[in-house]
Symmetry: D2
Subunit: 145 residues, 4 copies
């Protein structure tokens, strides 16, 4: 298996940067893992697919059809917001782009499980903010691949 | 059903205040919901039982025996850290006393689900910190009971 | 903590017997755990409350208001059908009254976790069917309380 | 996205047939979804990889390293046996090869969610048993791809 990086977050104003994160990860050969729905999740997957990358969507509901069109492999969990744990846990590293309370839950889980977490376009106490998508990807992958 | 309040958090230095929170909630007739294990979780349940309150422990593992001795009713979820969602969701309000990343995940879920969240002995961006256990309980229950 | 017994199942024709199971369990001092919704779940809780017993409902959704009116303590899991694991795991023994595929999932989990499972009004390969609610309760509690 | 089929089950004596199921599914262009661990799960993934197929493992624990070596994409759920729901739900169809109580839980969930379920090397009331891996795959995919 290659390196998997989870991209999480939300907020329309963050989608362009999430797309760049997804593209950069795919260019580095990483599989991009997201929550599989719209917004930042779709943007990251779209970025990865724009350069031929591979994407996994971990869905909260019970139907594969909920996945956005850039998802290669959909995991249908049926466990609602608890799927945030699976998203966070499935990344060798996690990049948060913007995001609100659901993203905070994912960051909390990722840190609890000892995953490397990089934040972009938001601040979380105890985490160092990346200035650009390139820096976020660089820090997420340092020593991993 | 009466009012249920979830008490979450961790950190030895916060246990005394968590115990006071549990006691005050029980004196107000609330059922105290926790994650059912040790530390702040046990302290809150102990406080509630010290005045004859009722306690529920929502456990991450697969065995009832994991529950601390102040738990009246143990729910054995078997879903690990994902039980944090159930703890947060089962409170009409949530009081966080101290705590680290796992607590942050619970706060994120509680806010995502629209629960009222009061923080004590810690800061979370966007939430107003209570100064004392009494204030935390007062704000948690305002307009609820 | 006293003995907790999970009552699972579905089917309108099984509700009367489920109510009797709930009543008998409460008379024996057991807390009755169910999935918290209607049908057999509500019947078992109603039976327990008819003799002053205690009931816990482990709900699949995100709202306490989904619980039936005979639930004393509602656990709101937010994890959909995966809450079946928690229902099965939270019983020191599990009694299945009728039921369809969801009940089969709970029986599978309960057996996987080593819980004692008694079936009433249905057959499951490898399990001995109880003839009456009284026999089901007797076998569920043998050596437990 | 292409068709995804979940292969579930357990029992050393069923591994050869599970491997054949995995191989036949991959030859038909399906992605093979499993629980990601050993035994029947590993056999099905090995069969798929033997002909260049794609495999997804949905793990119960918190570490990617738990996945067997034939898994291309590991989803780390952290939710223990509750990940059985995700395995069942992620298949457009589900093929059970042998298996014990955990498999029964997955079959229960798959039927509850309306997935097509085919059983091989075991009987489940209400389901028609396939005689061979080829028949199991044929029936799983009928009208799907």
């Amino acid at each position: 298996m290659g390196v998997q990086v989870a991209v999480i977050g939300s907020g329309r104003e963050h989608e362009q940067r999430a797309e760049e994160v997804g593209r950069l990860l795919a260019e580095r050969g990483c599989t991009v893992v997201t929550g599989g729905l719209g917004g930042v999740m779709a943007a990251a997957a779209r970025g990865a697919k724009s350069v031929g990358g591979t994407t996994i969507g971990i869905l909260p509901g019970e139907r594969r059809a909920d996945a956005n069109e850039w998802i290669d492999h959909a995991v249908v969990t049926g466990i609602g917001h608890a799927r945030n744990l699976a998203v966070a846990a499935s990344g060798d590293a996690v990049i948060a782009v913007g995001g609100s309370w659901g993203t905070l839950a994912e960051i909390g889980f990722a840190m609890r499980l000892g995953r490397r977490v990089v934040v972009l376009d938001r601040d979380v106490e105890g985490l160092k903010r990346a200035a650009t998508p390139a820096e976020a990807v660089e820090r997420a992958l340092a020593d991993l691949d």
